[in-house]
C-alpha cells in the first residue's frame, strides 16, 4: 500500500470532498496560491479558484465570525488557522456563537464549520506558536475536538468532519505533519468517538494524546524487551471521548497512565481519570497517574523548550512508576 504524510493525507481528504461538494470553501492566511504555511492546500487553488480557496487578511475573529454566518446559510467553511494560538482572538465567536447556535436555534440551524491547523511544542516555535489548548474546547458543549496522530487517521477523521454538521476543531501536531503511514486508495471514514488501541498489552494501560502516542510506543518497545506488555490507546477524538474502550482496557490491566503534552489542571487526563474512577473503580489496582507538559508558557531556547515536554526518559519512568504501585 502507498504511504502518505499526515499533511498529504489530510489534503487528499480535503480535495476529494471539495470535488464532491461545491459548498465547501477554505479561508486562511496564505492558503490560496501559496498553498498554506504547512502545504495544507497546495495545488487546490488551481482546481477550485479564489472563491473556494480564500486568502484572508490577518483577522481571525473576523473570518471566524464570517464563517459562522456562512455555515448558517448553506455553505461549509473550513478555517485553516495555521497555528491554534492565532484563533484565541476569536474565542468569543467560537464559544458564544459557533458552539451554541445549533442549541439556541433548537436544532433548526446546523454549524458545519471546521477549524483546522497546527498545535504543539516543537522546533523553538516559542510561546505564540506552540499552543494546543484542546482542553478548553473539550470543556465547551457543542464542539467536536479531533486530535489525529497519523496519516491514516488524519484522512479518515477529516473526511468524517467534512461530512458532518457539527463544528469541528481539527488539531494537527506539528511534529507529526511529515510522518508517514499507509493510506489506502479506497475511500474510508473514521467515526468520531472511537479510540484506537494502537498496541495491545496486559500490564498497564497508557492513554496517549497527540504527540505522546509516538513517545508512548517507543517506551513500550523498550519495556517489551523486558517482557512487559503495555496497552496503548489513542483516543483520536477528545469530544466525543471513547471512555468504554479505556474502561475495557483498564478492566484487563488494572493500571492507567494518561499522557498529554498540554497542561495538567482540568486537562483531558483529569477527565479520563474521573470517569474511570467513577465507572471502573473496582478494576483499578493502582492510583491513576498522569504525565503532562510543565505548567508554564512555552519557552524559546531549545534546552528550555525540551524541559517543558515529557522526554523519553520521563515517559519510560512514568510507566515504571505505575507498574511499581
Amino acid at each position: 500500500m502507498r504511504e502518505l504524510t499526515f499533511t498529504a493525507a489530510a489534503r487528499e481528504a480535503l480535495t476529494e470532498e471539495m470535488a464532491r461538494d461545491p459548498s465547501i470553501f477554505v479561508v486562511g492566511e496564505g492558503i490560496g496560491q501559496r498553498g498554506g504555511n504547512f502545504n495544507t492546500t497546495s495545488g487546490l487553488y488551481d482546481l477550485y479558484g479564489p472563491m473556494r480557496l480564500r486568502d484572508t487578511p490577518i483577522v481571525e475573529r473576523g473570518f471566524i465570525g464570517m464563517c459562522t454566518g456562512a455555515a448558517m446559510t448553506g455553505t461549509r467553511p473550513i478555517v485553516d488557522f495555521m497555528f491554534v494560538d492565532f484563533i484565541l482572538d476569536a474565542m468569543g465567536e467560537l464559544i458564544n456563537q459557533v458552539a451554541k447556535i445549533q442549541y439556541m436555534s433548537s436544532g433548526r440551524l446546523k454549524m458545519p464549520l471546521i477549524l483546522r491547523g497546527s498545535i504543539g511544542i516543537t522546533g523553538a516555535s516559542a510561546t505564540h506558536h506552540s499552543g494546543s489548548y484542546f482542553p478548553m474546547f473539550v470543556n465547551i458543549p457543542g464542539f467536536r475536538v479531533v486530535v489525529p496522530t497519523n496519516a491514516y487517521d488524519a484522512k479518515g477523521l477529516f473526511k468524517t468532519a467534512l461530512r458532518g454538521d457539527d463544528p469541528v476543531i481539527f488539531l494537527e501536531h506539528k511534529s507529526l505533519l511529515n510522518s508517514k503511514a499507509q493510506v489506502p486508495e479506497e475511500e474510508y471514514f473514521i467515526p468520531f468517538g472511537q479510540a484506537a488501541v494502537v498496541r495491545e498489552g496486559s500490564a498497564a494501560t497508557v492513554v496517549a494524546v497527540g504527540s505522546m502516542v509516538r513517545k508512548a510506543l517507543e517506551a513500550c518497545d523498550a519495556l517489551a524487551a523486558e517482557g512487559i506488555a503495555i496497552e496503548v490507546i489513542d483516543p483520536r477524538t477528545l469530544a466525543p471521548l471513547d471512555i468504554p474502550t479505556i474502561l475495557a482496557s483498564v478492566h484487563k490491566t488494572g493500571r492507567l497512565l494518561i499522557m498529554d503534552e498540554t497542561f495538567q489542571p482540568c486537562g483531558i487526563g483529569a477527565e479520563i481519570a474521573a470517569q474511570v474512577v467513577a465507572q471502573g473503580f473496582d478494576d483499578l489496582d493502582a492510583p491513576i497517574m498522569r504525565l503532562n507538559g510543565v505548567y508554564t508558557p512555552t519557552p524559546y531556547s531549545p534546552p528550555l523548550e525540551a524541559a517543558v515536554i515529557p522526554n523519553p526518559t520521563q515517559v519510560l519512568q512514568a510507566i515504571r512508576d505505575l507498574l511499581a504501585e
Binding site: 483577522v59 454566518g69 465567536e93 447556535i101 436544532g107 457543542g142
Partner: protein
Amino acid sequence: MNYLALYRQMLEIRRTEEHLAKAHQAGMIPGACHTYVGQEAIATGVCAHLTHDDAVFSTHRGHGHALAKGVPPREVMAELFGRVTGCSRGRGGSMHLFAPEVGMMGTSGIVGPCILQATGAGYSARLLNKGTVGVAFFGDGASNNGAFHEGLNLAAIWDLPVIFVCENNLYATEVPFSYATRNTDMAERASTYGMNAVSVDGNDVLAVYAAAGEGIRRARAGEGPTFLDCKTYRTRAHAEGMPSLGTYRTQEELDAWKARDPITTYRAHLVSEGIASEDEFAQIEREVVAMVEESFEFAKSSPYPDPATVAEHVYSDG
C-alpha cells in the same frame, strides 16, 4: 409601494413591545427585555425589501427585527415568556431569537458578532449564486468593537452582498456615542472601508425604505455592500426595569425625540398627502391590537419546555 403595510408593521412592533413591557413589569418575563420602541421605522423599512431567503442577524435589541422579518408576534412573546412555543423553543429569550425558516438567523447577547455573521451570509450568497443578501442590525455601540471594522473590511474587499444597518440611537446602554467616539460621523467611518455608506433619518420609514432599497438592489446586482447610518432614538430604557432617563439623558431630549415618533409622524404624513384615511388607520389599529392580544394569550397559555429535553440539540444528531 404599500404605504399601509409599512404602517401596520411598525404598529405591530410597537404594540407587541408595549405588551412585553407590561408583562415584564408584571413579572411574566423571567429574564431581560430590551424593547425597540422608537426605532420601528428601521427594521420595517429594511425588511420590507427582504424575502425569507435573505438572512438577518441582529443584536440584543432584536424584537423588532424578528417581527419585521416575519416571526409571528406570538412566537416572540412566547419566547420571552420561556415557553416551548417560542421561536427558540424557550432556549433563548429576549436576546436569542432564532427563526431560520423565515431567515431570522439569530439575535445575540453579544454586541458585534451579527456584523461578521451577516458578512458570512453574503459569502454564502456569492459562493452559491443565490442572489440573496445578508443583513446585520446593530447599534452605535457596536461601531467601536473590532467586529465592526473586521466585518466591514471583509465585506468590502470581497464585494459581498451585505447590508450593514447601524441604528445609531446615541447611547451604548448608557454611554453616549459622542463620548465613546471621536469621529461621530458614522457613514464617514464606514466609507473609509471603501463601501457605499449613506446617512438616513432612522425615524422616517420612507427614507429608510428608499435607502435600504437602493443598497439591497446594489447588493443583489453584485455591486457590493452598503452601510446605512440610521439616526434614531430609543424612547424607553435600555432594558425594562431600568430608568428611561437615568444619569445619561434629559427629559427635554427624550421629549424632542418622542415628538418625532416614527409611527405618528408617518401617519400624519400619509393623511396630509391623502394616501390614507383615519378610518383606515383605526381599522389597522383594531386588527393589530387584536392580533397582539391573541398572541399574548397564546404565549401566556403555552406550556413550558420539558426539562427532559434540556440537552437536546447540542449536536446535530440530536
